[in-house]
Every structure is written in C-alpha cells, then in structure tokens.
Symmetry: C2
Subunit: 380 residues, 2 copies
C-alpha cells in the first residue's frame, strides 16, 4: 500500500468538490440545466482571463486550443515568430508547419527566458511576421517568458499568441490589460480538472483577423463556437461532466480569491527553490523561474530516471522527468493546481530520501526546513 502523490505538471490532483461535481448524473447538453452551468462557468472564465471578450470552451486538450489559435488567425505561407525554448515552443513550430505557415524560430537556451530585445530585432528583420507564438510558462524548462514585455512590441504589430497552459490560474496573465491577442489554456493544470477541455480567448483585433484568415478549420472554427457559446450552448457536443467539474473548480478558485491562488503558487515555488538551494542543488531556471513547476538539476552521477522510478514505485511520488537533452538530469516538481504547503513538504521530504538512497550526501530535513520557513508566511 503506497499512497500516491501526483506532483507532476499535469494531470494534477482533482479536489473532492470537483470529483463529486463530475460524478453527477449525466444530463443532455441541449437543456436549460446545462446552459445555466455553462454560462456561469464562461462568466467566471472571463474573470480568470481578465478579459471582457469571450472565453471559449473546447472539447479538446490544450494542444487543441493551440491549434485553434493557429488555424483561426493565419493564412497559408504566412510567417510567424516562434519563441522556441522548450518542448512546448517546439509544439508551436510543429503546429505552424503542419498548417503550412513559415515559422521563424527564435531559439532560446533551455532554462532561460527569451530576451525581449531579440524578439524586437527579429520583428525588424522579418517585417512580414504576422504573429508571435510563445509560452507564458514553458513547462518543460520551468521558465517564465516575459509575455507582458513582448506585448509592448505587438500592440500595432503582429498578433501575440500566448500558450498559457501552465500560466492561467497560476499567475496573472491579464489578456486585456497586457494586450495579449490570443490566450489559451487547458483543464488539467491550474483548473484542477482532468484533461479534456481547452480554453481560448481572443482580442478584438484577433477576432477581426479570424475573418481574413484562410487556413482550414471546422471543429475548431472559433467564429462558429462564439456564436453558439454566446447562446449558452456549443457548436459540437461538449464534454458534459468536465463542464460540471469546471463550474465547481472555478467556484473554488473564486472562493479562495484569485490573488490568493496566485500567492499560493508563488509561495510553493519559492519554498521549493529555497529547499533545492539548501540541499546544494542547482535550479534549471534560476533567473526566470515559473511558479507552475520547479526544475532541479540532479547532482553529477545520479541517474534521474532511476531516481524518479524509486520515488514513484517506493514512495508513491510522481515528479516529471527532464525531456530530450535534460532526460535523466533533472526533476521537475509541480506546484500547479490543487496543491498546498504540504505537497511541497512531501516533495522535498521524498526528494531528500531518494537522494540519500542514491548516495548523495543529504542532510535529511535541511531542504524541508528551508521550505517550511517560506511556507510559514501563509500562517496568520
């Protein structure tokens, strides 16, 4: 019997309230009952995205919402600038290529944030760029990109398309105030839901662009969706139980208060970083770390894959691994969604024990203590 601790950046743990909401008896989606729940959730999503515009709910994963952004804004052969500093940056490249765009890649060293000056230079070198595709939080490298600063460059320029999958609900990413053109997220991160819902909101000028865009789209035709969703229904069959859960999760987040939700994520991330440093470990993203997850470099000679196996199989703790060149060299500890102070305590307590077992000279409790110091901020 080993209790499970799901501490990877998605899927994330599901609160009881959400589980129970999703377990409600199935109803038909073309009913006033569904419409009421759906409309209330959509109103709440506007507050989460900090926008006066529509937030559309899609029956898809977050990648579906990313594809919807591309398919609805651009035309074949157009150039887009992709900030590529990790696996999800690469995903923008692949989607753009699949749809016949010409992505210009601004490659960023993994663990670093994109340099805004370089973005500006690229826009000057390639004035034909129609959009910038970027992650707010690049989950694979636990980095925050400077979306707010990039938005300063794009007010009258290319459309700024932001993957907010591990950012929306983790930190403020206000669409209207920052001048973001498209913001997408998914259900299985800060929204504390299983995977299966994608979310997307567009600025007014992005909505205009959906009419000019010539890429093919049917399931993800946002014009169609907006018409339907404004009538409190959906163009195609919605994921009914996930929408029940969404309604409950948004209520929980609003009850906690978005400011407190953001502060909680920030505190957990700071506590985890302090713990890593106290244990003599290096951070993957020391300069621009994301509050969604913390990447920690493992000491030389420790096989990260085996360490993660031990954590999962013998302690029930699931962290995320490193990807590509970072495979086996890092662990990523998530803070996103239904997580609290004692998830950090468990994560660091387990990491200490695993490192000790693998021969790294850990002083047990030292990382936990550093985390506790910060987690105590939450007490009155």
């Amino acid at each position: 019997m080993i209790k499970q601790y799901l501490l990877a950046p998605g899927p994330t743990p599901i609160p009881d309230e959400v589980q129970r909401a999703m377990a409600a008896t199935m109803i038909h989606h073309r009913t006033p009952e569904f419409s009421k729940i759906f409309s209330e959730a959509r109103e709440s999503l506007k507050r989460l995205f900090a926008t006066q515009n529509d937030v559309l709910v899609l029956a898809s994963s977050g990648t579906g919402a990313m594809e919807a952004a591309v398919a609805n804004l651009f035309s074949p052969g157009e150039k887009v600038l992709v900030v590529n500093g990790g696996k999800f940056g690469e995903r923008w490249v692949k989607i753009s290529q699949a749809f016949g765009l010409e992505p210009v890649q601004l490659k960023v060293e993994w663990g670093k944030a994109v340099n805004v000056d370089l973005v500006e230079k690229h826009l000057k070198v390639y004035p034909e760029i129609r959009g910038i595709l970027v992650q707010a939080s690049e989950t694979s490298t636990t980095v925050l990109h400077p979306v707010r600063e990039i938005a300063q460059l794009t007010r009258d320029g290319p459309l700024l398309v932001v993957d907010g999958i591990t950012a929306v609900g983790v930190l403020p990413v206000p669409l209207d105030a920052w001048g973001i053109d498209v913001l997408v997220t998914g259900s299985q991160k800060a929204l504390m839901l299983p995977p299966g819902l994608g979310f997307i909101a567009l600025s007014d000028r992005a909505w205009k662009q959906t009419e000019a865009a010539k890429l093919p789209r049917f399931y993800f035709d946002l014009r169609l969706e907006r018409r339907s969703q404004r009538k409190a229904t959906t163009a195609f069959t919605p994921a009914v139980s996930l929408v029940f859960g969404l309604h409950a999760a948004l209520k929980m987040m609003e009850k906690e208060g978005l400011e407190r939700v953001y502060a909680r994520h920030d505190r957990m991330a700071r506590a985890t970083r302090a713990a890593a440093i106290a244990l003599g470990l290096k951070l993957l993203a020391p300069e621009n770390p994301s509050p969604a997850a913390t990447g920690i470099m493992l000491p030389e000679g420790i096989d990260g894959d085996k360490l993660l196996d031990t954590l999962r199989e013998q302690m029930g703790i699931t962290f995320a691994e490193g990807q590509d060149d970072l495979q086996g060299k890092i662990v990523r500890i998530a803070h996103v969604g239904y997580m609290g102070a004692f998830d950090v305590v468990v994560a660091i307590g387990g990491l200490e024990m695993a490192l000790r077992k693998f021969g790294y000279p850990v002083k047990l409790g030292q990382g936990v203590a550093a985390a506790q110091e910060i987690l105590m901020e939450a007490l009155d």
Copy 2:
C-alpha cells in the same frame, strides 16, 4: 483552499479503491450477489482476527460490538474486572454498569500500561470475577496493554474480552493463538472504512457462555447473527455499501500482506516518536506505546487547543486532542489505516511549523529528519 490531512485515530482516510467500491449501485441484501461479497469478506476477517471461529459483522459502531460482547456473555449482578486506563477503559465500565454488572475497576495511570501482576492479584482478591474487559490499544492514551500476557492468566479463568478497535489490523492480535475470548473492532480504523460496522469474534468457551448468559439482547444477539451469517446473510439489514467497502479494503490489506501492514504501522509510529524526541518533546506513553497513534506532550505554556485549531484551520491538519485531564496538553497523531510514510512527514512538518508559530524554539526540519531516517527503512 487548504488541503485536508485527516491524521486522527478514526475516522481515518478512505482509499480510492474503497470509495469506488462503496459507490457501486445499491443492491438488495437478500441476493446471491450480496451473499458472495459478504462471505468473502467474512473469510478474510477470519484471517485478520487469526481465528478458526466466526467473525460477525454488525451494523453498528465499535461501541455496539463492545456492548454485544457484554450483553452476550454475562448475567445481571456478575462481577467483571475492567482495566481502566483511559476513555475507552471507562467505556467498558459504563457499558457494564448500564447492563447491571458490577465492574471492579483496575485504574491505571493515563499513559501507562496495566501491570499484569496487578491483574493477577485482582483475580485472586475477587475470585467471582467472570470476565476481564480491556483495550488492546487504549486510543485515548496511545498505550498498548499486555493482552497476550493477561490471556495467560485467563485460560481456565474469567473470559478475556478485548477491545481491539485500534489494534486489529494495526498489530497482530491473534484470537486463537493468544487465547482471547472475545475480540471486537470497528470499521473506521485499520479497516480504512467509514464508521458504521462493528466486528466481533468469540472463542469456543465464549460461545458456550452465550447460552448461559442472561443479559437481555435482541439486535446484538450473537447466536442469531451467527446462524444468519453462516448462511451468508444477516439477521437484520446489513450496511450494504459499507460491506462493499469492507470487501475492497480487506482485499487491499491482503494484497499488501498483513505482515507488511503491521510493519508499516510500526514504522510510522517509531518515526513519529523519534521525531517528537528530536524536537525535545516528551511522549505520553514512552514505555508501551501503541502503533495506532502517538501521544506527544506539548511544551509548558502552549495551549494545545489553540495549537490544534491552527493546525486544522490554517494547515488543514487534523490531529486528535487530549481528553479530560490531558485536554490542551497533548496532541495525538494517528498512524492507523490508510496512512503511509508521507503522512508522518506532513504531521511532523506541520507540528514543527505550529510549535514555531506558538513560540516554542523549534529547529524546523529536525523532527522531520528523525522521522525520515526511520521511514527510509521501507526503501529497498
């Protein structure tokens, strides 16, 4: 949003597998489907109680099973010896008195185990004693009483009636091998279920005594229950969903293996005691501690009630308080049931933070480290 950690000695956390089993569609209890599940659970309970005799399942809390023991074994005016070293010892006194028995109380200082020599002396002074009523684990004081040794005294003497509510499934209490006459437990402890089921098993000589006993009984008439349960049904309506859960919980315990279940509880308790000592705190029961829960004396001047409020309200951690004279002076941290290594880490991490907040000079992480040292024994 504060995640909840239920670390009190009952109700205890319910595993997913058990929750899902209990959520199955309701069936009628006079059906082959129910009988199959019920019989399988009863077979498994025999292994848990380590007896060839019947283990009866009652729709009651553990106290109901305690009452069933008294009502089925004794006659009005008979003397019983009650080991009274805590709230549950007192409960034996109250049940005995309610049924018109004459309890002779062997009072034991809270936090201490009963002295077997004193039990023997009482039996000599009162040769008319017909039964000894004792707790295997006295939850209110986190003490283990020496049931095995007491059983040596009662082989041909009075009936030994053991409240195993926080013992069965926590440590071995083999009914047949030790010569216990009656062993009772409840569902909301090591069996990882909600409250609502009581369990009772009797030795052969206790079964004989049920015929001679003259106390009134109807709902708890064990002769009637045995006849019914041997036919894979119950005398009165069983708690159907709890029986579904029981079936699932026993499967989980047998999959883990009872020896490993006992070792897990023992390890968690040792880790917690080591943590308390590392923090400079005193144990309530340093000499004969129960592996079900650990009582920790709070430092002078700290209001235990307020400390527990802070833990519960600000950290989501529920410990048990002290009772009667110990109110406000101790915390009790449970290890019973669906608990693992990181429940100890959370408990001690939270206790350290709470003590620091209340002004006790805690070195954060010091208790956690002492616990981790012991919890690491479980790793390959």
